[in-house]
């Protein structure tokens, strides 16, 4: 018996969401009295440090280039069988979601995706209806698979042990998908992984006014986001769009500036831990979903807030 964690990389580096998956796998392994094994595929910078997060073993299949869910699922299933995994953990990310269903079929394993609780026996919770409901699932198969909700299980350093990665033996099938180009924004935390998000909407009146949003994000170390109309009229890039049709996020702090809070927007952000809404319209529906609200002119409030956070940070 063991817990196997698929520890994913993006552009060759192990992702924060992968460390969350390891912390999840470690905690379940502790409860079950089994070992926690990390598996990396392809280039995986940071694999040498995984011992800190409690893994007993790090297995690597490095001779894979480019993401193809069919190849990954095949390798992960082989390794899961070799190590006798009874639980396989994935991040609920673009790659984790693409692989987990395939592995579930290969291993005849029950899958619950975007889990929000630790697997307890055969029981695990997940959110439904964009956060408007919760389901408690039972998984009836011997091998179980979960993908874990982002920003829900913080990576925890639990050990001073260093675990040297070992090569796993697996047959590597030929990829049918040819990856031509992978481009990611450099130097910022991607939205699905961001702890702090500053988001703005049509109330900004034009793309030329975004400097103050970026200033606030910079002082917080936050990632910037935007509402759908703003992405649709190309004031901001498509990848910044949060909401039902854009990226669904779950940060600890979400600051919404000049966004009225349409239900489709809320569906993508209402699982944020703390929501701050700044809007000149006291009737904006977003206030009903907020923890803190300021009714005021954002062109006045946002620079003041940036200054106040700056002085707070200087004194703390």
């Amino acid at each position: 018996m063991s817990v196997l964690v698929f520890t994913e990389s993006l552009t060759g580096k192990i992702k924060k969401s992968a460390l969350e998956a390891i912390s999840y796998g470690y905690q379940v392994a502790q409860q079950q009295g089994t070992s926690c094994i990390a598996l990396t595929i392809g280039q995986a910078e940071g694999a040498d440090d995984l011992g800190k997060y409690g893994v007993d073993k790090v297995l690597q299949v490095s001779q894979v280039n480019g993401f193809d869910s069919q190849v990954y699922a095949n390798i992960i299933s082989q390794v899961a069988q070799q190590v006798g995994a009874t639980l396989v953990v994935f991040s609920h990310s673009s790659s984790g979601k693409s692989i987990a269903g395939r592995v579930a079929v290969r291993l005849d394993a029950g899958l619950v995706s975007a889990a929000t609780t630790l697997l307890n026996g055969d029981t695990v919770n997940k959110n439904l209806f964009s956060g408007k409901g919760i389901a408690t699932y039972s998984i009836s198969t011997a091998v179980k698979i979960v993908t874990i909700s982002a920003n829900t299980f913080p990576p925890k350093e639990v050990s001073g042990n260093s675990v040297a990665p070992e090569a796993a033996s697996a047959n590597i099938p030929t990829a049918k998908i040819r990856v031509k180009e992978t481009t990611t924004v450099e130097g910022i935390v991607p939205l699905p992984e961001a702890d702090l998000v500053v988001s703005a909407g049509r109330g900004m009146k034009g793309p030329e006014n975004w400097g103050m949003v970026e200033d606030l994000a910079a002082i917080l170390g936050a990632t910037t986001a935007c509402s759908r109309p703003v992405a649709d009229i190309h004031w901001r890039p498509h990848h910044e769009h949060v909401g039902q049709t854009g990226v669904a996020i779950k940060p600890t702090l979400y600051i919404a500036i000049g966004i009225s809070g349409a239900i489709q927007h809320l569906a993508g952000v209402n699982q944020s831990k703390t929501i701050v809404v700044i809007n000149k319209d006291p009737e904006a529906p977003f206030f009903k979903a907020a923890d803190y609200g300021i009714v005021g002119d954002l062109f006045d409030v946002v620079p003041k807030l940036t200054a106040a956070i700056k002085s707070f940070k200087a004194n703390n």
Partner: protein
């Protein structure tokens, strides 16, 4: 080209969610059901564009659900699909649905899905179907062009994009950007009534997961309003109370 589009039915985004029967099922009273938006706006419309660019192609809808869901299928036909298959069964789990789709998806050149359903938000079925059919799977596609037997697809990844090439046949899940919503016109609605819907029985599946109970998320304490002239108060609250700074 034979194109398959899998469509699901979900509660409308604005639905108030409540549970019934001792929290063991969704309370359907007052809920308006719609075609899952990602299936309708992106998967179905991009499939129709692909058909329009390739003379002699057909677009078939596949839905797993009871007869009561027929309006969702008719809407897809009104938007422009040629025919439909309905697997006559309640969708009890992702794996159940994936097995039904795989049993009816043989011989298609491409199988379209929306990126997820807006009820279970799981994104599980497309990957399962791809595995059951032993086909490549491109997820979260936001743009596609085709040339001969090759599709070039841009897909959304965390904080960026990836461009991939794949040969037909394959499974594709579609995100925003893949196409623009089409509203069915009167002619489409009239024609949809005469288009064939084949009803097939479900294949037997042993479910691997089950929902034991549903619950509602904790209610928020309510918004605390802060004066625009006292943003320092907000900083204090974020630090001391919310503990996010």
């Amino acid at each position: 080209m034979k194109i398959l589009v899998c469509v699901s039915q979900t509660p409308d985004t604005t639905s108030k969610i409540q549970f019934a029967n001792g929290n063991t099922e969704l309370d359907k009273a007052g809920i308006q059901f719609i075609m899952n938006p990602y299936d309708e706006w992106y998967a179905l419309v991009r499939a129709l564009e692909l058909k329009e660019a390739n003379a002699g192609s057909t677009v078939t809808l596949l839905h797993v659900g009871a007869a009561a869901n027929e309006p969702t299928i008719r809407k897809g036909l009104a938007i422009g699909a040629d025919d439909a298959i309905r697997v006559d069964a309640e969708a009890t789990s992702s794996y159940f649905v994936a097995k039904q789709i795989a049993a009816n998806a043989q011989g298609f050149d491409v199988v379209f899905f929306g990126k997820e359903t807006i009820d279970y938000n799981g994104s599980e079925v497309p990957a399962m179907v791809a595995e059951l059919l032993d086909l490549p799977f491109v997820s979260y596609g936001s743009k596609m062009s085709t040339s001969g037997n090759v599709a070039t697809i841009e897909r959304d990844i965390e904080g960026g994009k990836e461009t991939v090439e794949v040969d037909f046949p394959f499974v594709l899940s579609c995100a925003k950007g893949m196409a623009e919503q089409r509203i069915p016109n009167m002619q489409g609605i009239m024609m949809s009534k005469r288009k064939p819907v084949k009803v097939v029985p479900a294949v037997a599946v042993n479910n691997t997961v089950a929902i034991k109970t549903y619950s509602l998320p904790p209610v928020k304490a309510g918004v605390k309003m802060i004066s625009p002239d006292n943003v320092e108060e907000l900083v204090k609250l974020l630090h001391n109370e919310a503990k996010v700074l």
